[in-house]
């Protein structure tokens, strides 16, 4: 996903002491005998983007979803990264039965999974069909809709037709009753069958996203994610939303209809989870946690300046991430400088110039950041530590090499338009890169922008890109899931066939050979077969140098001393509220 400002940055998990196997970091909260009860106090700045799981698309919303929604399959709670990214059954009894052609998935619904309606009601296959249909609703279509339209038979047609439906609760309900997704069928109350357009080794990862949550029939009374919906959520997880005030507070209380026997993943240790919003300062949040006045941060990162001091603190943990955050992208369409950036030699030269260690320092230094040399970051499928065509020993940049290569390319006096966001560390990153480029004779014209304008009026605008309003930019990218996630890394960033307004392939990179590899990887039957294609694509992309990979950020987290059994969730980049208890 595109990284929003203010939301905890960075990515995937892996136990910090990965090479050592199970060291004391393996159970950061200490484990022990669970002690139920108490109120977990969470503090942070902003509200969720959407409360409706069909459209919520930020890490904080994912962490909230984990408490009150469930999916057919999900990720287990584990501080072992490899375990934490392997899909396990959730509402489904077991992993689905897959047909011989690899295109039909049959899920059996687990008995005892109930909605907290009055009276409590068993969740059915029809609820999952409704959930998938709602993703395509015309009012608040899911941000992740393309994952489903790309894979499920008839989903694209269903989506197209749904957009013409009336944008009212009644209109939406009527359309959903009258139209079916061709490939999705409730065989009976406990059996769901999904037919794919092609084999897709990552389909279960897609079904494990919170988007694929079931929806009870009651939701048909509300406009998706509307104010009425937000006051009438129905839970099937261990907690339910007891009080929601937009931008101010979210209170989670125990869901009496949930039972432990029917949930192999979550627990219900604390009584209540009180989330208090409106605290804009990461420094203050950190002080509250250290003073024990709050237990967890909702969305504020551990302040970079506190990292050095916190090393060794039992509440402080760093989990390895998988992101390109930030990376430097070239506008291949820019007419500026006689289209110099369309020349691969110029882009390669600039790849040598950037001091990646200096940018890692901006984000807290080597423990918190991993320097990246390829188009696919570690922790994502296709990552290849051997593909590092522009690596400079020490990763500190080589301006002399850059100068030589620019001279060989016959380019001099480059002046690059370089928009940057004024929020967070973006201005520092821009200054650091501009300084590196200056050393190899390239002038940067830094343009201050708001976060929205940065994408809307520069990087993601087709017209502005073609006009040359920007030449280079420093966006960030966080995959929507880890492991088998080429669909969430290579496709959005490097598949040139879908370049359009709002594209995340900002530079309009388009290489038919890479596109062909993408198709092969997506339709490969197994993850290992897909991995080979993704690796090939990675090498090919780096030869074209449409970006300068810089760093993958690891995730520093902190919890108060009361928090026990803190298990980190890679998907939401926070400790899983359904695993911990208070000491």
């Amino acid at each position: 996903m595109k990284i929003r400002d203010g939301v905890a940055l960075a990515a995937i998990v892996m136990v910090a002491a990965a090479c050592g196997g199970h060291e004391d970091h393996a159970l950061p909260g200490g484990g022990g005998i669970p002690q139920p009860g108490g109120t977990l106090k969470v503090v942070g700045s902003g509200d969720v983007d959407h409360l409706d799981p069909s459209s919520s698309y930020t890490v904080v919303a994912y962490n909230l979803n984990r408490t009150w929604t469930r999916q057919l399959v999900t990720y287990p709670a584990s501080n072992d990264f490899e375990k934490a990214i392997a899909v396990v059954p959730d509402v489904a009894e077991s992993l689905p039965e897959i047909s011989g052609d690899g295109r039909t998935y049959t899920f059996k619904i687990r008995q005892g999974v109930r909605w907290n309606t009055k009276p409590a009601r068993q969740v059915t296959a029809a609820d999952f069909v409704r959930g998938l249909k709602r993703l395509a609703n015309p009012v608040q279509p899911s941000g992740g809709i393309s994952y489903y339209t790309q894979t499920i038979e008839g989903m694209q047609e269903f989506f197209n037709a749904f957009q013409k439906a009336p944008k009212t609760a009644a209109g939406i309900a009527h359309f959903m009753a009258a139209n079916q997704i061709k490939g999705v069928r409730a065989v009976d109350a406990a059996t769901l069958e999904i037919r794919l357009t092609n084999k897709a080794s990552d389909f279960l990862n897609i079904m494990a996203l919170p988007f694929a949550s079931p929806a009870p029939v009651e939701y048909e009374k509300f406009v998706p994610d509307g104010p009425d919906f937000r006051q009438n959520t129905i839970s099937l997880g261990p907690y339910q939303i007891g009080n929601y005030q937009a931008g101010r507070t979210i209170l989670l209380v125990r869901n009496p209809s949930w039972n432990q026997e029917a949930d192999p993943v979550r627990h219900q240790y604390v009584d209540r989870i009180q989330i208090t919003l409106g605290q804009e300062s990461a420094d203050v949040v950190q002080q509250l946690l250290e003073a024990g006045l709050s237990d967890l941060s909702w969305d504020q990162p551990v302040p970079t300046s506190a990292i050095q001091r916190l090393n060794g603190d039992p509440g402080f943990h760093v989990y390895e991430g998988s992101s390109l955050n930030p990376f430097l992208v070239f506008n291949l369409q820019s007419p500026n400088n006689n289209r110099a950036l369309a020349d691969v030699k110029v882009r390669q030269a600039i790849n040598y110039a950037v001091n990646k260690v200096a940018i890692a320092q901006i984000f807290g230094g080597p423990r918190l950041n991993t320097v990246v040399e390829g188009a696919i970051p570690p922790g994502s499928i296709g990552f290849d530590a051997d593909v590092k065509p522009y690596m400079v020993p020490g990763h500190t940049g080589d301006p002399a090499k850059c100068r030589t290569m620019l001279a060989q390319a016959g380019v001099s006096g480059l002046v690059l338009q370089f928009p940057y966001r004024t929020t967070g560390n973006h201005a520092k990153v821009a200054q650091s890169i501009a300084g590196d480029l200056g050393k190899c004779g390239i002038t940067s014209n830094l343009i201050a922008t708001s976060p929205d304008d940065f994408y809307g009026r520069y990087l993601s605008s087709v017209a502005k890109s073609r006009e040359g309003k920007w030449d280079i930019g420093g966006p960030g990218w966080l995959p929507d899931w880890y492991g088998n996630n080429g669909r969430s890394v290579v496709v959005p960033l490097f598949d040139g066939r879908n370049y359009t307004e709002g594209s995340t392939n900002y530079g309009a990179y388009n290489n038919p050979a890479v596109n062909a590899l993408i198709d092969k990887a997506l339709t490969a039957g197994t993850e290992s077969a897909a991995a080979g294609y993704w690796k090939e694509a990675n090498a090919m992309i780096m030869a074209d140098a449409p970006i300068v990979p810089v760093i993958s950020q690891n995730v520093p987290t902190f919890h108060s001393s009361r928090v026990q059994n803190a298990v980190y969730s890679p998907l939401s980049q926070q400790f899983d509220y359904t695993q911990l208890w208070l000491g």
């Binding site: 423990r367 520092k428 200054q431 300084g435 830094l446 201050a448």
Partner: protein, 315 residues
Amino acid sequence: MSLTDASAEAEHVPEEAPAVRGKGPWRLAWERLARDRAAMVSLGVIAVIVLLALLAPVFAAITGHDPQAQFPETGLTPEGLPVGPGSDFWLGADSLGRDLFIRILYGARISLLVGLLSTLLATVFGIVAGMVAGFYGGWVDGVLARVLDVVLSFPYLLVAIVLVAALGASVPLMIFVIAFFSFAAMARVVRGQTIAYKEREFIEAARSMGAGKVRTMFVDVVPNLIAPVTVLATLLIPTSIVFEATLSFLGLGVDPRTASWGAILADSVDFYRVAPGLLVFPALMLLLTTLSFNLLGDGIRDALDPRSDRLLPGK
């Protein structure tokens, strides 16, 4: 602060002229100013700051640190924290490993440039607008006075943010924005003074001798405005400097690579606990500069207008 009596200020008193000689009003004002210890100290501080700003390139050459050069290896810890004061970085480094001392000196250039130029611009506009409004009266005054009211009632920071966001940050734009929001205060004072003066006898005398309106304005009225305008301008300078620092603090000032006190202060927000110098030094400079200009402005007002009562006994 309290000021002691004249005996302690003997060294500031200019030597008495041996022969009896008429003293002009400016000389008298200077003598009064010279006896004002706070104003004189302020003048000295301002002179030192100006000198430091002028000598910034010399210090950059001595330390070998260009104001924009980043030294991530020597200026930062591996975790990215700025190093403290030392022989290499005299006042420490900032969060990108740039020399804080050098950047503060270059920041003084920006502050003084913006402060002085925008005040000059505001003064010129203010005098013209205020004098035209006051002298012509009638509908001209009505229109101009309302325009000034509108400008004065603007939420100036918001407008400045919008303008900078729309047009891009640059020093000339900053000077213009600050001048635009400062000139109204100046124009109001000038208008009031002009209205008061234009009924006085010496203006009538000039008119009766056939002087035109423009001539009367510039030859007869302007000299009488110098005192209030000088005072107000001196007090506008620190306001402009703070305004520039505010915009830079918000990331809307000059190019982020250009050293500016406001930008350094913004940088310190994340690091003041581990690198207090990042907060203390630019804040101290900002405080010293604005305080000096304010005290000097106070002193000038007292010197030019001996009838006014002083808040603090200075002589």
